[in-house]
Point group: C2
Chain length 227, copies 2
């Protein structure tokens, strides 16, 4: 399977590395490939420069946003929420049309300090904005409720006994996403919340997530729906 991962930060790298490791072909998309590879400074959280990471993950291809979206049979949006619509626009409507677009992003606003608020919430969601902007894409919201390492290795937290949510308007695309979450990463409990408007719930959980993170002081946690 050819997967295009938009975004070269921790989330994009983590997803790309794992999806490639288990036998898929993966391209990471970035705004300017040369500029990304030329960077030598670490990221804000001590993230190593992309080139250092890429040397350790040579199987992952690198391309522009447009090249990456065109390449992927499935496209994943792993960009910062505030940039997602612009990135997807530069990726090209025609390169997303008819494809499963797994939206992992969160509309976090760090401009007023920590903890972040949301740039979109309550009566709308980033996932719905993306779907409205790219009506031919099959947007499924998933994975945005956990940190990058937990996305690809749920078993590292409580043996994997916790919950992932999905929401989307296209039932086959959502079912496929649920299957991929299980096959690729080992998710055991995937809860389908319904159509994409339910991404509001998934995105509005983030303000609680950042506060639990503040208590746990580590990215290795998630919530389990106990019934």
């Amino acid at each position: 399977l050819k997967v295009g991962v938009l975004g070269s930060g921790i989330v994009g790298r983590t997803l790309a590395a794992k999806i490639a490791l288990i036998g898929n072909e993966v391209t990471i998309g970035t705004r300017d490939v040369e500029q990304l590879l030329a960077r030598t400074e670490s990221g804000p959280m001590g993230t190593p420069p992309f080139s250092v990471w890429h040397d350790e993950n040579p199987a992952v291809h690198l391309g522009t946003f447009g090249e990456t979206a065109a390449y992927g049979e499935i496209v994943m949006n792993a960009t910062a929420g505030v940039a997602s619509l612009e990135v997807l626009t530069s990726a090209g409507t025609q390169n997303l049309s008819g494809k499963l677009l797994i939206d992992v992003s969160n509309p976090l606003d760090f401009s007023k300090g920590m903890p972040p608020s949301l740039t979109i919430s309550n009566t709308d969601s980033l996932a719905e904005r993306i779907q409205a902007t790219f009506p031919e894409a099959k947007v499924v919201k998933a994975l945005n409720t956990v940190s990058a390492p937990v996305m690809v290795d749920p078993g590292a937290v409580g043996g994997g006994d916790h919950t992932m949510f999905v929401a989307g308007n296209d039932e086959p695309s959502k079912a496929r996403t649920s299957d991929l979450l299980k096959e690729w990463f080992g998710w055991q409990d995937v809860m389908d919340l319904g159509d994409l408007s339910n991404a509001r719930g998934m995105e509005m959980y983030l303000p609680l997530w950042v506060r639990i993170f503040g208590v746990v002081q580590a990215p290795f946690f998630n919530i389990k729906v106990v019934r």
Copy 2:
């Protein structure tokens, strides 16, 4: 202990009955006592008229909002979020001053249909508005993230192995609330999220709660923070 519970709906009744059952003195506060007792119609969710419930729970006293707040050594806000500030104002600033005020409410807006959105969110919370309006009260946010039956009987869900959050500015009041949650109801895992601004996370979880409720189709669930 004398506890004043503001609100005569399912949440107020459930809290009052349980807190009285275990040996405290409890008054439920309502706008107009005679009017409440005169009602014969059931509530929107099939809730029995208050008088029917009260006949089965005669140990619980009944008073106006002001009488109830004056009565309580601890006051609990179990009113609908959209009415909370008005109710607390009619309860009287002087009757809340210096007291632990446990805020159980959620700023849910049902006016646009289901699922509800929030009337306050993101960069503010109902709990903070209450604290700002009643600066002498010691507001602690708690219990708003679960249904009424789970509030008072967490053991009914997964043996009680799930998480309750608290937030508040006054550390002794918050510690006391955590103790009461354990003593009164049997909560095992109470996570202190910090000052009252963290109530934003607790209230913004509600849009996810209502969607999980839509899947589970029953009020007996909660989330557990798995580490």
